[in-house]
Amino acid sequence: AQSVTQLDSHVSVSEGTPVLLRCNYSSSYSPSLFWYVQHPNKGLQLLLKYTSAATLVKGINGFEAEFKKSETSFHLTKPSAHMSDAAEYFCVVRLYNFNKFYFGSGTKLNVKP
């Protein structure tokens, strides 16, 4: 069985403070992992992906994620939040030799001035 759990449905931070969006997955196979962002009334944009190379992955707009196999986690971080980061973020798993993308339920990030 495979699933993706985003531990927080809403996260609120102040501008300039760090961001942490948590994601855990369960999979019997080696996964590829992705984070997507969706701004209001916009499409889904890829932030970053992990595909069994370096465990620390750097993405666009200063976001990073670290793959921790022992914890089955792929948390998304950013050192300093910007107002433009306010959006919904989705953690996504794609399994080796399978073609379906499994989406987490999403985390809405609010950034306060």
Binding site: N99, K100, F101
Partner: protein, 114 residues
């Protein structure tokens, strides 16, 4: 085109009517996906195409929903006898076949059934 293109971007239809949603994937992408995003809900998988065949249509919610893909390119999602609960944003995505590649999403079609 450079990205995944979906049409129409918005569709308002009367309950009971049929609708067709179109997706034009990125050229060369063999895999194509349809997802549905309802208000307050996450992304719900509907169907996956590899080439023209659909090895996984497990997410289609009822037999009113069908999809086809022709020429390994354009896909059409058809909803017959629309119901109000069909109101949602329908997203199409395409990707290359290898499992370490990401999906590229279109802007979606917002369907409103009145």
């Amino acid at each position: 085109g450079a990205g995944v293109s979906q049409s129409p971007s918005n569709k308002v239809t009367e309950k009971g009517k049929d609708v067709e949603l179109r997706c034009d994937p990125i050229s060369g992408h063999t895999a194509l996906y349809w997802y549905r995003q309802s208000l307050g809900q996450g992304l719900e998988f509907l169907i996956y195409f590899q080439g023209n065949s659909a090895p996984d249509k497990s997410g289609l919610p009822s037999d009113r929903f069908s999809a086809e893909r022709t020429g390994g390119s354009v896909s059409t999602l058809t909803i017959q006898r629309t119901q109000q609960e069909d109101s949602a944003v329908y997203l199409c995505a395409s990707s290359l076949a290898p499992s370490d590649t990401e999906a590229f999403f279109g802007q979606g079609t917002r369907l409103t059934v009145v």
